[in-house]
């Protein structure tokens, strides 16, 4: 780890929307508010109208149980909700229903851990607790918050279930925080409680301090991708102040993702100001061992266990397995593919993994897409690898197929359309080799002093044929012919 950060202490509070629920946490309004007209997924409960009463969504409790089990937390046998009072238009009731682990209250679950790997070193990051709470409404400002004359409120999001995952202050660098979030995202995907690729489905507050100094809490980091950037900026700010001999103050700061800076908020919100007290409109919840066992039975294999199995079943390296299982959809795709072809063995398993993590992942990244949104099928990749191994196409040509493959076009059709089947016919290759040698006397001369010129000549051959020549045969024939020419040239000298 870089010594630049060894005195940095970071703790994260991650809020995750349970997007895979159908209804909100305390009312049956449709959970799927994205892209909907404002204030159309609302009812007397999530609008906080007098006399309305909340009722807990059963599946929200099950989803929280799934996550708690996957993270290795201790689930509390009994807990109740609290009111967190504050006056802000994003909560119509003037309080948020949340959980509280003081004043006799308990979180949903305590402890747990997330294991990360950074520079091939493993580190276990301790969690503090997870709890359930409701999402506030979305505020829309005309122009900037500072100058807008009013706020427009859309309560569609109000009451959507959030799970808050609080870590201990155990991370020592922005990179560790990034890996922590990567693993958390993976675990959430495996538990099938949320789709964190959806816009706004996760928000992060970060506590950051330099050892021995006051900490700041950076709020409003609205995506996992922004966290590393916000942390780096805030650490730099604190270090710069210390360097100039200034002392840091404990404060709340806001991450401005447009200007990419943290801004101090003059607000001093103390916990006591929230006047936490038990929510009387909801009765306590008891989680039985039977219930936990039932949920446990339905949990799929988690990424850690799956990576170990991939090493065993497909003889992949630890490194390959761990990257491959990170995205459940990719890992499922992999298993569907390699299992469907009986003739595949360790070599093909590795090849299949390389294709998925290499060219396919690169394409997904470049196109800002995820595998389940493309038409690529596991079988296409099986066919592609078979064609390469049978020598029908070269690996280089295969790479040019990726774009077309993502549209779901069968491999044989792509080969036919492109006319790019491999040329292995010796006579055909010799013809190209001779042409290239004739056309490039300078490079041929150069070869005497610089054997690397051979690669340049092979490159010319490939260019002439759209890369269809078999690279091995071409190399052999080129070497043979250029040696002959060189011998002739030097005897003439």
């Amino acid at each position: 780890m870089s010594s630049k950060y060894e005195d940095v202490i970071i703790g994260l509070e991650v809020h995750i929307q349970l997007t895979n629920l159908k209804t909100k946490l305390f009312c049956s309004c449709n959970n799927d508010y994205r892209g909907k007209e404002p204030n159309t997924h609302v009812c007397p409960i999530c609008l906080g109208l007098p006399g309305s009463l909340p009722v807990v969504n059963k599946n929200a409790v099950e989803f929280a149980t799934r996550l708690a089990l996957a993270l290795g937390c201790d689930i509390n046998k009994s807990f109740w909700f609290f009111r967190k009072n504050y006056f802000y238009p994003d909560m119509a009731k003037n309080f948020q229903i949340s959980q509280y682990n003081k004043a006799g209250g308990r979180a949903f679950a305590d402890g747990g851990k997330i294991t990360i790997k950074l520079n091939s070193k493993k580190k276990e990051l301790q969690l503090n607790r997870i709890h359930l709470e409701e999402d506030p409404a979305r505020l829309v400002h005309k122009g900037s918050i500072a100058t807008s004359p009013y706020a427009l409120v859309d309560y569609n999001r109000s009451g959507v279930t959030l799970i808050e995952i609080v870590s201990d202050p155990v991370m020592n660098s922005p990179e560790e925080a990034r890996e922590y979030l990567k693993q958390l995202k993976s675990i959430v995907q495996y538990t099938e409680i949320s789709d964190l690729d959806l816009d706004g489905s996760c928000r992060v507050d970060a506590n950051i301090s330099i050892k021995g100094h006051a900490r700041s809490e950076v709020k409003n980091i609205n995506s996992f991708k922004e966290v590393e950037r916000a942390l780096k900026w805030e650490i730099q700010r604190q270090k710069n102040l210390l360097k100039r001999g200034k002392e840091l103050i404990q404060e709340t700061r806001h991450w401005d993702d447009k200007r990419r800076v943290t801004i101090g908020l003059r607000t001093k919100e103390f916990e006591k100001d929230y006047r936490y007290f038990p929510e009387q409109d909801l009765v306590p919840i008891e989680i039985t061992k039977d219930f936990i066992d039932q949920v446990k039975k339905k949990l799929p294999e988690m990424p850690n266990a799956r990576a170990k199995r991939f090493q065993k079943d497909y003889q992949l390296s630890e490194f390959d397995s761990e990257i491959l299982v990170l995205d459940k959809d990719i890992a499922d795709f992999y298993e569907n593919g390699v299992k469907s072809e009986k003739s595949f063995g360790p070599d093909e398993y590795k090849q299949y993994c390389n294709w998925l993590m290499g060219d396919i992942s690169r394409w997904l990244n470049d196109n800002n897409n995820v595998i389940k949104e493309t038409k690529l099928t596991p079988k296409q990749l099986v066919d592609l690898i078979k064609l390469i191994n049978e020598g029908k196409i070269t690996g280089k040509i295969a790479k040019t197929f990726v774009n077309e493959m993502m549209k779901g076009t069968p491999i044989l059709e792509i080969v036919k359309k492109s006319g790019k089947s491999r040329i292995a016919d010796k006579d055909k290759i010799i013809k190209v080799v001779k042409e290239v040698l004739e056309e490039n006397p300078d490079i041929v001369n150069d070869y005497q002093k610089n054997p690397k010129a051979l690669e340049a000549l092979i490159g010319k051959c490939m260019k002439k044929t759209d890369g269809r020549l078999d690279p091995e045969i071409t190399k052999r024939l080129m070497q043979k012919h250029i040696t002959e020419i060189s011998a002739k040239n030097s005897s003439e000298d």
């Binding site: 609302v42 829309v140 009387q280």
Partner: protein, 101 residues
Amino acid sequence: MSDKEEFSKETIDYLSKLALLDLTEEEKVKLSKQLRDIISYFKKLNDLDTSNVKPTTHAIEGLKNVFREDIPWKSLSNEDALKNAEHKKDGYFKAPRILKE
């Protein structure tokens, strides 16, 4: 802490700020007195020995695990949702701009 301290002018200012209430000086004096009376009334509870009593968190004892199934209902129409709102615009509720400061 004495009653006087608890409802000093600072306390009333602080509470009204938390509650986002604009109080006149007159109201502040009136409310200080009322709040002090309420607090001292509740302080009578301190006369009882409750060291062996489990705190009550919910008024109805024994009721637990009241759940509903995760099935969507028909929500209010936008028109109905905004019907009683005094300030609205383009389907939104209109709220004063509040800078948390």
